[in-house]
């Protein structure tokens, strides 16, 4: 047994380490081919890593990426592909921003106001993903298709509502338009970090909490077990009395509710209004981070931090003359290599286990042992 587990640990390390080394080599090659010395790039990134502001911004980005990744991972665990996290969080952020910024909310006590905003966002996110769940269980519509389409519908809905005649107002002196800014009582204060004018999002703790709950529900509750079982084998789950329909609805609702949280750190910690420049596309980053982190609560946190750092190091690269697009290439290559590496290791492991089993069944002792 000892020999076996050492191999297992080594194999586990081979995939991520190998993938990252491979990705680093590919990026170095691309940099060299485009006339940018790879070592200077590494140096620029290392310098960026020592700048407090970059660290704070990386952590803040990672907070959003992590929430998006958990939302995606809840679906992934059940082999459900919720591609609609993007639309879910944008619609949720927009509507909850309109609620939190509304004049009648100014008098509500701060804690209650923030709680109401967050709950509203979760409800909107869940409702939007619930549409896809409903279509899937009643009409058999693939959630991949319906969530992608719901993204587009969310975009149009937000544009329709983001109008001075409806939920938004023009930003004076600007070509921007947004919901009424949330007054101080409805904001979540940031945490100061020495040497940085940016503050750490107060809602970073929300992301940690979501990660803990995700871990607990999946590995310590019956619901989590049924979720994973359905993902591994639908027929086996049905045979053991799990209602797949019910699981689809619940996991999509939960995924959507977590997706609703994605925009909250930015909204309540920094923007205080949903406007044209509210960051889009976090849902798609979430998919990449969930893939990279293998749907594991800690793995996704590491992946989110890596992703956040790469995104925020891009400015430093740009300043030192390296095209910022290299960051996109790095992120793409990392995800592809990780996915490929895990698949290669998985195949190797399956073959190795078959060999072990074959050896165990074929003969009880090896030739040397018999002759000894």
């Amino acid at each position: 047994m000892g020999r076996f587990s050492v191999r297992s640990v080594l194999l586990g390390l081979v995939a991520p380490v190998g993938a990252l080394v491979f990705a680093a080599l590919v990026c170095a090659l691309i940099l060299a081919l485009t006339g940018n010395p790879p070592l200077d790039t590494v140096d620029a990134m290392a310098t960026a890593a020592q700048r407090p502001r970059t660290l704070v911004n990386s952590l803040n980005s990672a907070t959003q990426y992590y929430l998006a990744a958990v939302a995606v991972a809840i679906g992934f665990k059940m082999k459900l592909f919720n591609i609609g996290v993007d639309g879910q969080y944008r619609l949720a952020a927009m509507l909850s921003a309109a609620l939190a910024g509304a004049a009648f909310m100014d008098g509500v006590p701060p804690f209650l106001r923030v709680a109401m905003t967050i709950v509203a966002a979760m409800l909107v996110g869940a409702a939007w993903s619930g549409l896809a769940a409903l279509l899937k269980v009643t009409r058999g519509v693939s959630e991949v298709i319906s969530t992608i389409m719901l993204n587009a519908i969310a975009t149009y809905l937000v544009s329709y509502l983001l109008n001075p005649a409806r939920l938004a107002e023009n930003v004076p002196g600007s070509n921007n338009i947004g919901t009424r800014p949330i007054t101080e009582g409805g904001q979540v204060p940031g945490i100061d970090y020495p040497g940085s004018t940016s503050k750490i999002f107060g809602l970073v703790f929300l992301a940690v909490l979501v990660g803990v709950v995700y871990w607990f529900v999946l590995s310590r509750t019956r619901f989590g077990f049924e979720l994973k079982a359905t993902g591994l084998s639908e027929s086996a789950a049905v045979a053991s009395g799990v209602s797949v329909q019910k699981m689809v609805v619940w996991s999509m609702l939960l995924s959507g509710a977590v997706a609703g949280l994605v925009g909250m750190p930015q909204l309540l910690g920094s923007s205080h209004s949903y406007s044209l420049d509210f960051p889009p596309g976090l849902g798609f980053i979430g998919i990449a981070v969930a893939l990279l982190g293998r749907n594991h609560p800690v793995g996704m946190a590491v992946a989110a931090l890596l992703w956040g750092f790469l995104d925020n190091a891009a400015n430093a690269l740009d300043v030192s003359g390296v095209p910022r697009e290299i960051v996109l290439i790095m992120q793409g290559v990392i995800v592809l290599s990780v996915v490929v590496a895990y698949e290669l290791v998985r195949r190797y492991r399956v073959r190795a286990e078959q060999r072990d089993v074959g050896r165990a069944l074929g003969r009880t002792k090896t030739l040397e042992e018999v002759s000894a």
């Binding site: 640990v9 586990g12 390390l13 991520p16 380490v17 990252l20 080394v21 680093a24 070592l39 200077d40 590494v42 140096d43 990134m45 290392a46 310098t47 890593a49 970059t54 911004n57 803040n60 980005s61 944008r90 975009t155 544009s159 983001l162 023009n170 930003v171 004076p172 002196g173 600007s174 070509n175 921007n176 338009i177 004018t197 940016s198 930015q266 920094s270 923007s271 044209l276 420049d277 509210f278 889009p280 596309g281 976090l282 982190g293 293998r294 594991h296 800690v298 793995g299 996704m300 590491v302 890596l306 995104d311 925020n312 400015n315 430093a316 740009d318 300043v319 030192s320 003359g321 910022r324």
Partner: protein
């Protein structure tokens, strides 16, 4: 368990990278090197950056002119799609920390970031294009009256239209592009009160691909031509290319935007249909700003570029509107004199 192993892997790699990093001491070249001139100019683009054939490129032209003339040290940085205000602020601060004492932020999206960054660098002169939302003693706001130029090309469209039916193709449905639409419609109606103006926006925010999707522009314009329009104004950045293609295929006319599109090499194939362009001279504004800093004549606050002050206008290249230029200039004179107030909002 897998996640733990992944962590270990990443940490190991991170340590390796850090070790490599500390081996090579100072970064080569870059912002640390002393400038030949007293101005060090940093420019932060909006999404798309240099090469977008539109707004950012116009700023880039002004930059190139200033560079050629003054021989100043220049650093250009680009925005990424989907970034936050914090990342924009970081970009501006990195420029300021790198010794760039003259910094231009292209696009209204920089307003919140600039508001925060500019306060910490009182000696750095900032320019913000397209927004008055960030004010300060070291901020110049370069804004344009796009509705006035659009009014004039609306006049041209109405005068050139035989069907009394014209079109407007907007890139993305934002308040900025709505200014173009409102001014254009007002111009058309000033000449022909009963004319029809078809309006179509290619995408809704935050999908900004409408500024760079010629196929969408072509489809939208073709729909308008089929519905009877004979002149279409393309306020859609790179998508305008498709609008002009559709105009050429259908034997109709188009109107360009931002720069004098008749003279753009990229549009040489379709320039026969471009009767005029609404010119928004971001390049002039950028160049003026750099010159003012260079000559120690920087003034903070709003610098409005309109028909009166210049920086907004219409193009006459190609000679397609020579016959109606007198009439357009009559309207222009009225706007400059304040007799006609062009609305900016619906």
């Amino acid at each position: 368990m897998r996640g733990v192993r992944l962590t270990a892997g990443l940490v190991a790699l991170g340590l390796g990278l850090a070790a490599c990093g500390s081996d090579t001491a100072a970064p080569g070249g870059g912002p640390g090197t002393p400038a030949a001139s007293s101005i060090k100019l940093g420019l932060a683009y909006d999404i798309g950056g240099r090469g977008d054939q539109s707004f950012n490129d116009s700023a880039a032209r002004g930059l190139d002119k200033a560079e050629a003339e003054f021989g100043i040290d220049i650093k250009e940085l680009e925005a990424a799609a989907g970034e936050t205000d914090a990342q924009k602020e970081d970009r501006l601060r990195q420029l300021a920390e790198g010794g760039y004492n003259t910094i231009i932020a292209v696009g209204f999206a920089y307003a919140p970031a600039l508001k925060k960054a500019a306060a910490d660098y009182p000696d750095v002169k900032f320019a913000l294009i397209d927004s008055e939302d960030a004010q300060g003693p070291n901020i110049a706001n370069l804004v344009f009256a796009e509705q006035e130029g659009s009014f004039l090309v609306g006049v041209a469209a109405a005068l050139k239209s035989q069907t009394g039916n014209v079109g407007f193709v907007g890139g993305v449905n934002t308040p900025l592009i709505q200014k173009f639409e409102v001014g254009y419609t007002a111009g058309v109606k000033a000449v022909k009160p009963d004319a029809t103006v078809q309006v179509k926006y290619l995408t809704q925010p935050p999908d900004f691909t409408g500024f760079n999707d010629p196929a969408k522009g072509e489809t939208a314009a073709k729909g308008m031509f089929d519905a009877g329009a004979d002149v279409v104004y393309a306020a859609a950045g790179g998508s305008g290319n498709g609008v002009f293609k559709a105009a050429k295929a259908n034997g109709r006319l188009g109107i360009g935007v931002d720069s004098d599109q008749y003279n753009l090499p990229a549009l040489a194939d379709v320039r026969d249909v471009i009767i005029t362009s609404m010119v928004k001279e971001v390049d002039v504004a950028v160049y003026d700003f750099v010159t003012s800093v260079k000559n120690d004549k920087f003034t903070a606050g709003s610098h409005v570029y309109d028909l009166k002050a210049g920086g907004i206008g219409y193009a006459t290249s190609g000679g397609k509107i020579d016959d109606i230029q007198g009439k357009i200039d009559e309207y222009k004179a009225k706007i400059v004199a304040g007799e006609i107030k062009v609305p900016a909002q619906k």
